[in-house]
Amino acid sequence: MTLHRLIFVALLGVFLAPAIPADLHLALHGEPKTLDPWLAADESADAIAYLTEGVLIRVNRYTQQMEPELAASWKTSPDGKRIVFQLRQGVKFPDGSPFTSEDVVRSFERMLDPALHSPTADTFKTEHGAVKVHAEGTYSVIADFPAPTASIERLFDQVAIVSAKAAQRPAPGLGPFVIDERRPGVSIRLRRNPLYWKSSLPRVDGVVFDIEQNRDLEYLRFRRGELDLIEKLSPELFDRLAKEMPGAAIDAGPTLDSEFLWFNESQRGDIPDAKREWFQSAAFRRAISLAINRADLSRVVYRGHASPAAGLESPANKLWFNTALKPDPFDPAAATNELSRDGFRLDKGVLRDRHGNPVEFSIITNAGSKTREQMATMIQQDLGKVGVKVTIVTLDFPSLIERISRNMNYEACLLGLTNVDADPSEMMNVLLSSASNHPWNPSQKTPATPWEAEIDRLMLAQAATAGYHARKTSFDRVQEILHQQEPVIYLLHPNALVAVSPRLAGAKPAVFLPHTFWNAEELTIAPGRQGGAQ
């Protein structure tokens, strides 16, 4: 009798238990190139690492404040060269082994291994050497930097701490979720980490990422209720969603991202000398900038969800933006004046340089991005008004990268940049004239111009300073030089446009990446999969 009752209760339990796991569904736009958190360098891999890995200090994506994570507390020395972490106790890895200082030390050792080529490690290496991390007892870790380093704590937001004992790579991490199942190119399912140190979190059973390159399809699936979040909506889809499902479309405000245009100033590449001469002229670049109607780009292409850019830093970056700078106004007359001072003249609607060559160039951009194609079309028409003939060429990403980074066979390029971190040191790999990613003239042996030499000096100086005010002064000057010289014509700072399903509770979209699921562990899903609004 008792046995029967037991079986009955067990069966009842089985039937009453939720049959379908409450998973959070969203899309990634490409297959993560790696699941190793230390090698993550693409958005998809970053997303997986963010949800599966534990870090010592977490930068709250919403408040921008640093929060204790695996480190219960920390202390930075006044000279900015040492940081001491007190680790959280009682934390366990998914395999049940305890988390100790040994895991932190081993994680840094492995990550800094030169053979691994970890992009995360790059931020911990300076010309004076790499950071040295050692344990002091079971729950205390000391990190020593060879030189004063700017905003030292923020760097630890990127470093996944994995188990020192686990032999497998990637080793299980300490994040709210663990990788459950992966279908390459199709989907990745994460399930909740039962041993997650924040008890009772995460609230959802798992996160399912579908690999979906097509953004229109992502939108349709969101509308049908198959997806719960969209990380990045195009302005067009955002407006449509705002009409069809009011409340689901959220404009989280201006991001740190930027859309920009630059000319090829490199000596390499197959460009006629006359054109190279224009591109190297600051007056020419300024005139082009003045001839582009940023307000129209924002209003028409971004439907008002972007703000005209004055430089590489967005006003959203309150700590570092140089408030003295204003976006170039749309002023074709001033553009023509600027050009005529540089020897250009307008001849029957065609702009000619001092040798009589008609001014025409091509702009390359990536195929498949409707917003960028529309921007290019509008720029083409704007420049047409000052007599410049523009050809638009859309290329798939690999071909585009080959042109802008290898053979330098291009004239101008329209592209965007996603800014992950607000700190100026983040810009180092773009602004230093010796950098391979220095867009307009990469990998210079010595700075080609005095102003690039000045930028190099200022950037290196700010990175080696711990005090905010000294760094801000240097970085303000960098922004000012870029504004005067315009080697890159910054156009817009787009807003973070996201979609959040009405059945989700707890979502607080942020302007930093990941916009929507940065607090995935706190999100809850209302029971029952509801369809999109009809």
């Binding site: 409707k370 529309q374 859309t394 004239e411």
Partner: protein, 267 residues
Amino acid sequence: MKAARIGAILLLALVAAGALMPERWAAGRYDQQFRELPDAPPSAQFPLGTDAVGRDRLSRLLYGTRVSLLLAPAAALLSCLAAGLLGGIAGYAGGFTDRAIVSAADFFLSVPWLLLLLIVRACLPLDVSPAASVAITFALLGLMGWAAPARIVRAAVASLMDSEFVLMARARGYSSWRVLLRQLLPNVTPVLLAQFWIAVPAYILTETTLGMLGLGVAEPLPSWGGLLRELEGVSPLDQPYLLAPAILLAAVVGSLQLILPREDYPV
């Protein structure tokens, strides 16, 4: 049937006339941006509304029609000429030549043409105008499309070679040239012509597919494929005027199929 054909021809003539004189019907040039009116619904000024950057859709549709109607027949002609030549040689010569050409045709049929187009586009010099790049794309399509009609021409020629009148002509000692010009060519021409009419709508459809995959004509030049991209993810019931390029496409391709003699329908 005859009435339908005449109707089809009239419709095609009308479309061609419209496409040749877009400025008569439309408010502005295909690339003129009315930036104060982006995404406008249909109005008296813009019968089909405006696109995302405020360009007149009607004007773009008519220009796009011109691109498709000019280039698809050109590509079809190119592929049929190549098909006639190679298929004819294969059927006429037989033996090793025949096998080699048939194998080459099979090879062309299984080559990943999307990849090839992707690569050719990426390799083109950047200062090529949009019109030239679309012409190159069509030329490439034409050159690659010879295989299927060539197999049909080859089969036709091979069966003609076995026919009594060719055998008789040969028995009479006529020269190869005379057989070729007098016996074979007149009999193969209808086959080639039918293939041409099959190929024209096929190329129009191929261009639209390319355009919809983002491999079509470069901005700001319009084409049917590019215009159809506006339909992506949109419910046509909400904005029925977006269907205009699809309707025109169906009308033109449908008319071309009606003009085609019925017994020559492709599968």
